[in-house]
Amino acid sequence: MYEGTIQDLIDELGRLPGVGPKSAQRIAFHILSADPADVTRLANALRKVKDLVRFCTVCFNVAESEQCRICRDARRTDEVLCVVEEPKDVVAIERTGEFRGRYHVLGGAINPLEGIGPDNLRIRELMQRLGSGAVRELILATDPNTEGEATATYLALMVKPMGIAVTRLASGLPVGGDLEYADEITLGRAFEGRRAV
């Protein structure tokens, strides 16, 4: 244990995801020995992120104004809507440069163990967006785990009767990898989802 202020900092850092007690200590002492200007910049960034960043009123991605950059972009099509769990999933899909439609960020997945049901996600808002009639295809890009699959099934059951095409991202082998190194679960699913060439 260190005295007062430095221990406070270590405790706060230790509460961050992925930061253990050892890392927290290292970061704290790095900050202590760093240039004051650098530390001020970090402190300002931390303060500003809570003050300025908010959620887009349309898709609930992180944004700095009423609507996020993607929702404001007139070049994108309204016909395809991609549903993801978290804002970082938007970034991941954007990196591909393949998708030119819009997003909808649910804010998580259905997870009864953590007490998260459909009411805790932005599903009502999604239904309102779909109600406008502009969307022709809904892409379900929730995580390929138990909770993500359940969320996808739930949405598919709700949306299909509306006459909107519903698709799910394929799960399968990583590109550029060797078949022999794929784990048996991934390979098993890839087998199940095989297609004619």
Binding site: N145, T146, L157, E184, L187, G188
Partner: protein, 377 residues
């Protein structure tokens, strides 16, 4: 397949121990409580990434040490493979295959195929259905690794579904205005039926393949004293003969719909492979409750030997480890067991008294003392 070298660092009672083995029989001799079982337990850990004795990893690490290391050299089809595992309680294990680190410890599964019989296996006959389900599922995964994923998916769905039912149950009990939100229950039903059907189909096929091996193994161990029969007992009615996966999924779905009322009332999932059992019978009677201690022991042994036989019939040549088994058997059963297992590519036997082991299995001998083990001829 055989284990050529086993090295343990800070594992259980061993600060450091290194043993070399030959194919064929090896006997580990030592008084009770000096750590013979720890050696086979370490091999079991390499094969399954779990201990057959404890559910958590903490007891595996020697008191005062931060982590334990198991190094194991396996020879298979003339090729050798080095598996290294570092067990860090409360954290993910680190693993290396052939000196290069692997992303997940799970990737070492399959490097060592081991069938282990230990005194704890008596629970297979006397214990809860969960013991027998684990026996079936472990064997299923050993034969078809894909089922490792199926099993994990299914367990997760059951957990989530139970959490949902439970929260609805609690909400109703405390008079909550909403009575719990069950709007996603249909979704969980669909996923439970899908993964459950896959698991169920795998188990049914496994039991069909295993049945003759169990009968044969029990007959060999017990010498014609009653016929052993195993049967899968599902938690729902199934058509005969065993239906295919789609039919199973439909059957599970229907059974869930039927059980919905009582599930909501009790707040727990009542239908599915997690409620099934494997019934063991001796002649016309169930083994559980009717079999004597000796019969139960022979039955548990027969289940392991049947698993061993089945893997061999599949073309897998597993290592066989018999922990403290001969002391429990009379002379006749010892001889019959020896005949049965003497053809194993590698057989590891632990015992307190070397004379308990039939002569034909007395291969290389290892003396085990407190915290150390050495080859003794």
């Amino acid at each position: 397949m055989y284990v050529r070298r086993l090295e343990l660092v800070n594992f259980r009672s061993y600060e450091r121990v290194e043993l070399e083995f030959d194919p064929g029989a090896s006997v580990l001799v030592g008084p009770n409580g000096v750590g013979k079982t720890n050696l086979v337990e370490a091999l079991g850990y390499v094969a399954t990434l779990g201990s057959h004795r404890v559910a958590t990893d903490a007891p595996l690490v020697r008191a005062g040490a931060a982590s334990a290391v198991i190094r194991c050299e396996i020879v298979h089809d003339g090729r050798e493979l080095l598996v290294e595992l570092e067990i860090v309680p409360g954290k993910a294990n680190r693993a290396r295959l052939g000196r290069s680190p692997v992303r997940r410890a799970r990737e070492v599964l399959g490097a060592l195929r081991l069938v282990l019989f230990a005194p704890e296996d008596l629970e297979l006959v006397r214990g809860d259905p969960a013991e027998r389900r684990r026996y079936l599922d472990d064997l299923l995964v050993a034969r078809l690794p894909r089922f490792g994923g199926v099993r994990a998916d299914y367990d997760r769905v059951v957990k989530q579904r139970n959490a949902l039912l439970r929260s609805a149950y609690l909400a109703r009990k405390t008079g909550g205005s909403r009575g719990g939100d069950l709007s996603t229950l249909d979704v969980w039903d669909a996923h439970l039926a899908r993964h459950g059907a896959e698991l169920l189909a795998g188990r049914l096929e496994l039991v069909a393949a295993l049945t003759p091996h169990v009968a044969k193994a029990y007959d060999a161990v017990a010498a014609g004293k009653g016929a052993a029969g195993i049967a899968y007992r599902p938690s729902l009615e199934l058509a005969e003969p065993a239906p295919n996966r789609d039919a199973l999924e439909a059957a599970l779905h229907a059974a869930l719909a039927e059980a919905r009322q009582s599930e909501v009332e009790r707040g727990v999932t009542l239908v599915g492979p997690h409620r099934d059992d494997l019934t063991l019978s001796l002649g016309p009677l169930p083994a559980k409750g009717y079999a004597s201690h000796g019969e139960s022991w022979s039955y548990a042994l027969a289940l392991r030997l049947a698993a061993y036989d089945l893997l061999r019939a599949d073309g897998i040549e597993p290592v066989l480890a018999l922990d403290d088994v001969f002391a429990e058997l009379d002379a006749g059963r010892r001889e019959r067991l020896a005949d049965l297992v003497s053809g194993a590519s590698q057989l590891l036997v632990t015992c307190a008294v070397a004379e308990d082991v039939p002569a034909e299995l007395r291969g290389a001998r290892y003396q085990v003392r407190e915290g150390e083990a050495r080859r003794a001829g």
